[in-house]
């Protein structure tokens, strides 16, 4: 018996030694634990590496928006209460109130608010703020000054120009996804790709580099280089904002295109928004006061008389008329259906097409369009880019309304009025693009706002389908384009409709437009959209008579104001014209374009531009709040 017991004892020991772990393994794999077991320290870790969102730059490489590293601070009031914070050389610990004051001072918060947060012991993760101030960070991470602060590295989207460029850049939401503008259109490129880091860590959760299993670094988002020029944009936005305030408009928009490349140099739309507060904009605003609408690309309207240039260019190109063809100004002439009136203007019995453009005669251009016919007019309008997207790299571009008479013939009203810009809807960008074709000797180049999308390796990854076609599409013959520009020169000359759009030193080929607004399906009396679209320099004037060719046309500028109330400034030449003048002056200076009318020396007194600058400086001084910088002494004492 004894020997048997001795024989079996080791086996029993072995069974206990091997059996207990086996039972444990079985229970673990069958998930039979009741959840009360204590987890072993986790030495394996996996970390998602978040990519840095790419930046957006202007054509000169100046950053417009960038993700900037910041620190996010949160407050744990319980930890603050329990910790004993002693300043260096002090025996007594600091009181929670003193700590709260230190926190408030470092982050420029209201001390009473921070004190209240310290009292709220129920919430142990209270948001204090985000800061990129290294001095504040040193204070808030100094264990001799504060306690209970939770710091997290984060990135903040910085829009360096504030509201400027709002409709171009757009905004990002809380999930770091683009909500509008380039941020939305190129969200995938800007976001980048997340990385992952897996490996072992020590008991204090520090990664052990030699035990790293996987490290796939995050790929930072691509940087986007735009065609817009920060200085030109500033000129456009400032002049537009001042113009809206001066003339009492409800909204306004402006776009500037480079004639040679079709690139957008500036794009402004008012009302605008603060990109950092895009989500706070109410969603039930009427369209006229909705700041989210990009009125250059996403808003269609009847253009009015600016369309007359397109009609005349089409008819001249088709050799249907010449600039000197004579038309009767009799509105009731037989053969035409309900021609539009000329607002009480009394013309000579007959005028030329040239005069009809210069004086913006609805009757003559209406007759011209009527006689030219819908099919041909439609074909030319399509070639000029109406009724189709321009392909600009911004979200929400509208097509406009241009019905195809081949599918369903235009009614007689549209037939007689499409030529003068009624019965068709366009976007401002479409109109500017059509004028770009006229300025570029008849070749239309689709407008573009993105020049390059550069990934982290420095490669340009812009989708080839989004690249501008430098060859463009020929719309009209070069001689037609020159003839039309010559006609348009008269608009800003004496006797034209836009004398106030004249730019000293430069020739301007432009056209005014005063389009009645439609309310409840009818033209509302007294409510207008005023437009001026011009080419500077005109491209038909020689700077010096000895020159072989005229000075090259450089930019197309379109300015529109939307009036919600009756005003005496409702005409394109009276309101949009002066704004155009300011913008054109600034643009010519920024682009260093030499005047093509150097002999036309402007008055050397302070001109509008100086007044504008003076006003701007005074406004800035008035708007400047009291110096709100950090208290240097206080910071030094806590450093």
């Amino acid at each position: 018996m004894n020997s048997a017991w001795r024989f079996w004892l080791p086996f029993f020991g072995l069974f206990l030694f091997a059996g207990c772990p086996a039972v444990r393994v079985v229970r673990t794999h069958l998930n039979l634990d009741d959840g009360t077991r204590v987890e072993a320290p986790r030495y394996d870790y996996e970390k998602i590496l978040h990519p840095v969102r790419g930046g957006v730059y202007d054509c000169r490489g100046k950053p417009l928006v960038k993700a900037t590293p910041t620190w996010e601070y949160r407050l744990d009031p319980v930890a603050l209460r329990e910790a004993k914070v002693r300043a260096k050389g002090q025996k007594e610990p600091r009181s929670p109130k003193a700590i709260a004051m230190t926190i408030a001072g470092a982050l420029h918060l209201n001390p009473s608010n921070v004190c209240a947060m310290c009292e709220n012991l129920g919430n142990r993760y209270q948001f204090l703020g985000v800061s990129d101030d290294a001095r504040a960070h040193r204070i808030l991470t100094n264990t001799h000054a504060v306690a209970g602060i939770i710091v997290r590295d984060s990135y903040e989207r910085r829009y360096f120009e504030g509201r400027r460029f709002a409709h171009v850049l757009g905004s990002v939401n809380a999930e770091n996804d683009g909500s509008a503008g380039v941020e939305q259109r190129f969200n995938r490129d800007l976001r980048g790709l997340p990385g992952v880091e897996r490996g072992k860590q020590d008991g204090r959760r520090r990664a052990l580099l030699d035990k790293q299993v996987e490290l796939t670094p995050a790929v930072p988002g691509a940087n986007i280089y735009l065609t817009v020029d920060r200085r030109v944009q500033e000129e456009a936005e400032t002049a537009l904002a001042d113009g809206i305030a001066t003339y009492g408009a409800a909204a306004g928009w402006c776009v500037i295109l480079d004639v040679r490349t079709g690139e957008v140099l500036a794009l402004a739309s008012h009302p605008d928004f603060d990109p950092l507060e895009y989500g706070k904009i109410p969603t039930d605003l009427p369209i006229v006061s909705d700041p989210r609408v990009n009125r250059v690309t996403s808003f269609t309207y009847e253009p009015g008389s600016v369309m007359k240039v397109i009609t005349a260019a089409s008819a001249i190109d088709a050799r249907f008329v010449t600039p000197d063809s004579i038309y009767s100004t009799d509105r009731h002439e037989d053969g035409y259906y309900k021609l539009p009136g000329d607002g009480g203007h009394v013309w000579d019995p007959t005028i030329t097409v040239r005069h009809a453009i210069v004086h913006s005669s609805n009757i003559v251009i209406g007759k011209l369009g009527y006689a030219f016919g819908p099919l041909r007019l439609y074909a030319y309008m399509r070639k000029f880019g109406f009724g189709q997207k321009t392909g600009i790299e911004l979200p929400g571009e509208e097509v406009g309304i241009l019905r195809d008479p081949n599918v369903r013939m235009w009614d007689k009203a549209t037939w007689s009025r499409a030529a003068i810009g009624q019965g068709v809807s366009v976007t401002a960008l479409q109109m500017a693009s059509a004028y770009q074709a006229i300025a570029n000797d008849g070749v239309r180049i689709s407008p573009r706002i993105v020049r390059k999308v550069e990934n982290a390796s420095g490669e340009d990854i812009l989708d080839p389908s989004l690249r501008a076609d430098p060859e463009g599409v020929r719309v009209i013959r070069p001689e037609t384009a020159r003839q039309v520009r010559e006609m348009m020169l008269g608009v800003t000359a004496k006797g034209g409709t836009a004398l106030r759009a004249r730019v000293p030193g430069y020739s301007v080929a432009g056209k005014t437009g005063t389009a009645q607004k439609v309310k409840n399906g009818k033209y509302a009396p007294g409510l207008y959209r005023a437009t001026f679209c011009g080419i500077v320099p005109s491209g038909v004037v020689k700077a010096d008579p000895a020159d072989a060719a005229p000075a090259e046309a450089r930019v197309v500028i379109l300015v529109s104001l939307d009036f919600e109330e009756k005003t005496r400034y409702h005409q394109g030449g009276n309101s949009a014209g002066p704004i155009f003048r300011r913008i054109a002056l600034g643009t010519m200076r920024c682009l260093e374009v030499a005047p093509d009318r150097p002999d036309e020396v402007s008055d050397l007194e302070d001109d509008d531009f100086d007044k504008l600058m003076l006003l701007r400086t005074k406004k800035a001084a008035e708007a400047d709040p009291e110096w709100d910088g950090e208290d240097e002494e206080w910071l030094k004492s806590h450093r």
């Binding site: 900037t68 910085r158 030193g505 030499a594 150097p598 402007s602 400086t617 406004k619």
Partner: protein
């Protein structure tokens, strides 16, 4: 003698083996020591690299922060505000006050400033009285 000779040969063989084994052991020992030293050195390097890596990341972040702040400071509104705060009223130069010169040293054609200067020069040249000492540039 013969038997003795045999014994001594066996002893020498054992001695040789002992020496070989000893050499191997010593070599192994040295290798272990060297390996330990190398590992320790690697560990130190690893710590140092990790520290430098963290410093680099922090410096890069600081650079980003400072450059962002600099860009924000240079923004148009801030510059205007700064000018206003100091009571400065600055205007851009007008077209007739700017002379553009090409890279090859020639004047860019069609400049208001040049035209104005020529006009004045012609006026002065054709004037019957001698030109005054007053500067022609306003």
């Amino acid at each position: 003698m013969r038997q003795n000779r045999k014994v001594s040969r066996r002893r020498s063989v054992i001695g040789m083996h002992v020496m070989h084994i000893g050499a191997v052991v010593v070599t192994l020992g040295v290798m272990v020591v060297l390996n330990t030293l190398a590992e320790s050195s690697c560990g130190q390097l690893m710590t140092s690299i990790g520290q430098k890596d963290r410093t680099l990341t922090a410096r890069q972040a600081e650079f980003e922060r400072v450059s962002a702040r600099w860009e924000a400071t240079k923004s148009t509104d801030n510059l205007n505000r700064a000018l206003g705060r100091r009571g400065l009223e600055m205007n851009y130069a007008k077209a007739h006050q700017i002379i553009h010169v090409e890279k090859n040293g020639t004047l860019r054609p069609g400049q208001q400033s040049v035209a104005l200067a020529r006009q004045r020069f012609d006026r002065l040249a054709t004037a019957s009285v001698a030109p005054s000492r007053r500067p022609i540039v306003r």
